[in-house]
Symmetry: C2
Subunit: 305 residues, 2 copies
């Protein structure tokens, strides 16, 4: 069980030198996901030494430029690199049209297969599901249709208690598979039965990461992100600009912290700072008046659980 | 009469750290033009201190990503800055659809007026014309429809020869306007006539700049760019990779130099280097076997005439 989150870009609006719009690279239980893809993301991937080939699934929260204008360039670069692996893109309805139009105009059809998973539901839905990980949408409240994403490890197999197993000479290696699945041991002749919990330990507790950007304060997401190990929540403003949150549909650092507190998450990361603010430490300080375990997203920073 | 050309990006294909795709900012006779707009152009504009408000006309050579994936971000940033001035975009047919689709999906209609001038002619045509400057397309030979652009100063007014004028007391300030236009002086009573050339000097010779990227070796452009003061011509490869030029429709440094020589231009700038090459000086050396006055485009470099 492990999560490794690399922050690529973490600022709002236009890219500036040393202030790049949103993108994150998440590694969770042997799966790799790119989350959002603002202009310049491919340069940040190189800078922070993320292997392009690891990216097989890209999740786009919404179609504002600071979250997706880097996507067509990345799709195009994959093609120049001779990529052969499929690429899956999850994002709001319209994303397929705009990416394929640009490919068509450039006459640069990718040799790899490109799958679009267009989203338009206002309810949370399961959009990725394999043996290791599930990904759910988190419907957010922004100026256009926007989703956050909840990445959840699936509970793994039970761990073998080798000390206990070796005390029972009837148990053979070929039985381990069933034990890991939680089945009791039954000897071949049916005479001996041993309860599974005497031969195995619980599987490690699955970890989870919730990505919430961009959104106005939206307490109705709390049940969806309850108890997550890591929450990224946008904090475009401080409370001094609270009057801007209604029109722009963004949050303050205090509001992000309030969501973290009420959802009882373990760790909160803030980002998507407005360029109005020079000293980002004020975001952390404001959030910590509500919720203690707060970090600031910074380009290149890695959060590992 | 003056030309100031700022190189923003000058490499081919994908943006990398310190290797940005094509974009240039041209100031010519009180007019400012952005030429091509690869991903990251807006960051380079900031880095090289080009005022965004100066950009009123953007010329896009073709719809490959390394020449235009930064355009939607720039259009969007102009909006965020509260721009009110009109913006004119000149580029291949399709450019309007792709930019407006992205604006529509983001629900971020610009408050300023956006005018698209879509190009589809295979012949050179005049696409910009005001009292100071003319811009013509230079049809190029690339994998998709592509134009270079020829920027020509218009000949200005004649310069007053104040020494000669002051020797003729009949000439008054209100006559200067006509003299600058080339008219002979005729006194109010009609008795005195002085030839214009005795009272004025020729206007300075107009300057011209030709931008040619991307293209295979295309000698038929030579009459269009004949005698220009400054020629930017792509040189994606050296002669060691000449076999790639046919498929990719690019040029070698030697071919670019051959165009410069035959067109009798005054100064050649090379750019659009393939990432295969580490030492860019080889481009200059190869070109100089054919044509002496060669410079290498580098991000941030300024060429002034």
């Amino acid at each position: 069980m492990s999560i490794k989150l690399t922050i690529l870009g973490c600022h709002s609006a236009s890219p500036r030198q040393n202030a790049f719009p949103t993108s994150q690279f998440l590694e969770i239980k042997e799966r790799s996901f790119l989350i959002d893809c603002g202009e310049g993301t491919q340069t940040l991937l190189r800078k922070h030494k993320v292997q392009f080939a690891k990216i097989k699934h890209i999740f786009i929260s919404h179609l504002h430029g600071d979250h997706f204008y880097g996507l067509i360039g990345l799709v195009s670069t994959f093609g120049l690199h001779g990529r052969e692996n499929d690429l899956h893109i999850y994002g709001p309805k319209g994303i397929k049209e705009v990416i394929t139009l640009q490919i068509k105009l450039a006459k640069s059809w990718t040799k790899y297969k490109l799958y679009f998973h267009e989203l338009n539901s206002k309810e949370s839905e399961l959009i990725f599901d394999d043996k290791n990980v599930e990904v759910y949408t988190i419907p957010l409240d922004h100026r256009i249709y926007t989703n956050g994403f909840l990445f959840k490890e699936k509970k793994g197999e039970r761990k073998l208690n080798m000390d206990a197993i070796q005390q029972n000479s009837e148990i053979e290696i070929c039985d381990y598979h069933h034990l890991k699945k939680g089945k009791d041991f039954v000897s071949e002749d049916g005479k001996t039965t041993i309860q599974n919990k005497k031969l195995t330990f619980d599987a490690p507790t699955p970890l989870s990461y919730a990505f919430c950007s961009d959104t106005a304060y939206k307490p109705s997401i709390i049940p969806l992100i309850k108890n997550v190990d890591l929450l990224y929540h946008e904090a475009t403003f401080l409370e001094d600009k609270k009057e801007l949150t209604e029109k722009t549909k963004h949050s303050t650092a205090k509001e992000a912290a309030s969501i973290a507190l009420r959802a009882e998450v373990k760790h909160l990361i803030l980002g998507h700072y407005s360029s109005r603010y020079d000293d980002l430490n004020n975001f952390k300080e404001e959030a910590q008046t509500i919720f203690k375990n707060v970090s600031l997203a910074k380009s290149g920073e890695i959060f590992e659980l």
